[in-house]
């Protein structure tokens, strides 16, 4: 296989890692107003992702850097073109990231509530806008001959892209709430399970509409396979949650996200940034990628280090595998 094609799929893999991992912790953040009835509940919720949110978020940095290194043209077009949308994502991630660490620094409830709000908004905005961004990539955007985006922010907020945003928002929300039921005990766990059943139902309807639209408008042979896998995993995950099989439900929703990202990348292939105005201006794997030498260096690095990264990150999840209980939170002196 051509190295640039390999890197197209490695970029897909990195975004799968990002959307699966940060996806569920966005969901946990967004669930604060729905599940956090008192301060202890909210602390339980935040502590379910406490040890891992930072490493989850790192995936977007690695995905962005890999895009920069492997497809500089794609990176340049995407990041300058989606300028204000990415600005909003950055501001949301800043607000959210500092809130986890700052929230517990002072005892006053006003202080805590304002950081709670930042966690909620900081989780919802990226969860929505990443969906909008990827839908626009698949749909194509107006590009000039220098591959520069010629539209505005409002052009990005078209019905198809908004549906894409709603899909990621609902999917991440449901995934996060299932994670809460997997990581907590007692009443909170039950409430999370019931909330996931409701939000999961809406997610199924919206995701089905989005995948059908994508398939009919931009579908490719591989697309339908991945889209079907995503749909089946989502419905199965919803059923598993209803049946109280939390671990299975969480895994199936992770598969849903992975299959949905693969479906979008299949619909995109072999382009990376289609020009909606003139196909001649489109960026493809071919004309957007780095030199063979750069890709070779990075392939060797990835081959050696990815297994190591997955091993120590997997180990982290194993170390913090126990459920977070109200008792343990109340016992910890803070």
């Amino acid at each position: 296989m051509d190295l640039s094609v390999l890197w197209f799929w490695i970029v897909a893999f990195l975004f799968i890692g990002y959307f699966v991992l940060d996806g569920f912790d966005f969901g946990v953040g967004m669930s604060l107003p729905f599940l956090g009835r008192d301060e202890t509940d909210r602390r339980v919720l935040i502590n379910t992702i406490g040890p891992v949110w930072d490493l989850n978020e790192t995936w977007v940095i690695v995905a962005g850097a890999s895009l920069f290194a492997a497809f500089p043209e794609w990176y340049a077009t995407l990041f300058s073109g989606f300028y204000l949308a990415l600005l909003l994502i950055l501001l949301a991630l800043i607000a959210r990231g500092v809130s986890f660490e700052y929230r517990h620094q002072r005892p006053e409830s006003r202080w805590k509530r304002s950081f709670d709000r930042m966690i909620i908004v900081g989780s919802a905005v990226p969860a929505f806008l990443w969906g909008v961004a990827f839908a626009n990539i698949v749909q194509g955007v107006p590009l000039d001959a220098g591959h520069n985006y010629t539209g505005t922010l409002l052009d990005l907020l078209n019905p198809y892209a908004l549906l894409g945003g709603a899909t990621t928002l609902l999917l991440f929300f449901t995934h996060g709430v299932v994670f809460v039921s997997l990581k907590t005990e007692g009443e909170l766990r039950e409430r999370a399970r019931r909330l996931a059943a409701r939000s999961g139902f809406i997610a199924i309807v919206v995701a089905a509409a989005f995948l059908a639209w994508t398939g009919l408008a931009f579908g490719a042979p591989w697309f339908w396979g991945f889209a079907a896998a995503a749909a089946i995993a989502l419905v199965a995950g919803w059923l598993a949650n209803a049946g109280g099989a939390e671990g299975l439900a969480f895994s199936l929703l992770a598969i849903t996200t992975a299959a949905a990202v693969l479906a979008l990348f299949s619909a995109l292939f072999p382009e990376v940034m289609p020009a909606s105005n003139d196909p001649a201006n489109s960026l493809t794997i071919e004309n957007a990628s780095s030199s063979t030498y750069t890709l070779t260096v990075m392939s060797w690095t990835a081959l050696i280090f990815f297994p190591l990264v997955l091993a120590y990150q997997g180990w982290t999840y194993w170390v913090f595998r126990k459920r977070v209980t109200r008792a343990s939170i109340e016992a910890a002196a803070h």
Partner: protein, 470 residues
């Protein structure tokens, strides 16, 4: 109005603002992770409560600061594509590689092990838990290497070839890129300076408590540690800084000329280093100056009869090489940032040496003004670090990649001045607010002092840490 909305000018301000701001947290992250690791090792070996107290105390300041480093770091990566898309297209093949290597090798590592360290106190065996803070420190230092290697390409492009057809630089030798002489000198210089900044914080925090005669059992060893690190790291910063200035003269003679505001080529005794100058801001004429003969020659060439090329001669050479244009950085910025960097650095070593003398054999100074000077260690060491970074980056102008790509050609052509203005205002407001919150939290954490770490186990004499939760 049009001038106000110049995307190039605004994007440059944004880069300067976000980079300097991010760089407030990076040296502290590097230095404090190592500080916490050293004291946790001491606790691991002895089980003494004071070492655990020091670990937790500086660990909590480290974490407040780490959160800011992470979130402002994402902005750094994103803005190359957002504001500097032509730069990204031109150098992505070369510059992207060290960024991707940083992410894969260093960033994942650091982010994973910091989570294990914060929450793993009672979940991991003691030795494994100690390893997680060392892993965090190693990850942050490795991360710095890749970033400095990427930055060194902008100062001194190596390991690439121009691809005329694609109109871009392409990587041909990753080894050369990672062993760029500028990176090899800048990396230890920056790391040693980071330890100076962390030592500054340790000295400041310890002095604050010692001046009030409280927490003596934890703050005395912390002060000693801070003073020794300041002296050791100060010497290393100077030695590697000297290596870096040799590399700079060899690769960017204009930067050295601008650092000294020397307009005419000078040799030997005339190649003097001015400690202080009164005159026009750009140094083109002077009223009064204190000069050390031969010193500039020595700094630039390691000989006393060497020559240092002047700005005017270099400007002429560059016009012949690269066509008409102004190839001079803003002289007053380079001149003064270079001086403040060196002056503040030297002052810190001096203060630390005096501090070691005053606290020899367990003595503690009584006069309040001694402690007041010590408390200034942290803000001033941070200031030295920042002006050093400003010197490095401003001295590179007008090039974004020296000799290859002017800064003005690198800006995103499709991003309007209004877009950049919106984001510049947003970042300024958010960063400004967070700076106030962060500063208050750090001061509060310092004033609260080391946490209670519990009673020693009656059998083993060890103190064990409690569970950590958010």
């Amino acid at each position: 109005m049009n001038e106000l909305l110049d995307p190039l000018l605004l994007a440059r301000w944004q880069f300067g603002l976000t980079t300097v701001y991010h760089f407030l947290f990076v040296p502290l992250t590097i230095g404090l992770a190592t500080t916490a690791a050293v004291f946790q090792t001491a606790w691991y070996r002895t089980g003494k409560a004071e070492y655990l107290g020091i670990t937790k105390f500086f660990g909590s300041i480290f974490l407040i600061n780490f959160a800011m480093g992470v979130v402002t770091g994402i902005v750094q990566e994103f803005q190359f594509g957002m504001n500097w898309s032509e730069y990204s297209r031109f150098v992505g093949d070369v510059f992207g590689a060290p960024l991707a290597l940083e992410g894969l090798l260093a960033f994942f590592f650091e982010a994973t092990f910091i989570g294990l360290w914060i929450f793993g106190w009672d979940k991991l065996p003691r030795g494994v838990h100690l390893a997680t803070i060392w892993a965090t420190a190693v990850g942050s230092i490795a991360s710095a290497y890749f970033i400095i290697a990427a930055n060194a390409f902008m100062q001194n492009p190596v390991g690439y070839e121009m691809n005329a057809e694609k109109g871009r630089a392409e990587l041909v030798d990753i080894g050369a890129l990672l062993t760029n002489p500028v990176a090899v000198a800048a990396f230890p210089h920056t790391i040693a300076a980071s330890f100076m900044v962390a030592a500054g914080l340790v000295i400041s925090a310890a002095a604050w408590h010692l001046a009030r005669n409280q927490h003596l059992d934890t703050m005395r060893p912390a002060l000693k540690f801070g003073l020794w690190v300041m002296v050791g790291a100060g010497i290393l910063t100077t030695v590697f800084g000297d290596q870096l200035s040799l590399a700079m003269v060899a690769t960017q003679p204009m930067k050295m000329a601008a650092a000294e505001a020397t307009y005419e080529t000078v040799c030997g005794a005339d190649a003097s280093f001015s400690l202080f100058t009164l005159g026009t801001p750009d140094g083109s004429s002077e009223l009064f100056s204190i000069r050390v003969p031969y010193l500039l020659s020595f700094l630039s060439t390691h000989t006393f009869d060497g020559c240092v090329e002047g700005i005017n001669d270099l400007q002429g050479q560059y016009e012949m090489l690269y066509g008409p244009g102004d190839y001079t950085p803003i002289i007053w910025i380079t001149y003064w940032s270079f001086r403040w960097m060196i002056g503040l650095g030297m002052a810190h070593v001096l203060v630390a040496v005096i501090g070691l003398w005053l606290t020899r054999k367990g003595r503690m100074p009584k006069r309040p003004w001694v402690w007041k000077i010590a408390i200034w260690s942290f803000p001033l060491s941070l200031a030295a670090m920042i002006v050093g970074w400003i010197f490095t980056e401003m001295g590179r102008q007008p090039w974004i990649v020296f000799s290859l790509l002017p800064t003005e050609s690198a800006v995103s052509p499709n991003v309007t001045g209004l877009d950049v203005l919106i984001s510049l205002v947003a970042f300024t407001l958010v960063y400004g607010t967070l700076a106030v919150v962060e500063a208050r939290l750090v001061v509060r954490a310092i004033r609260n002092g080391p946490p209670e770490v519990g009673e020693p186990d009656p059998e083993t004499g060890r103190v064990e840490p409690a569970t950590t939760v958010y």
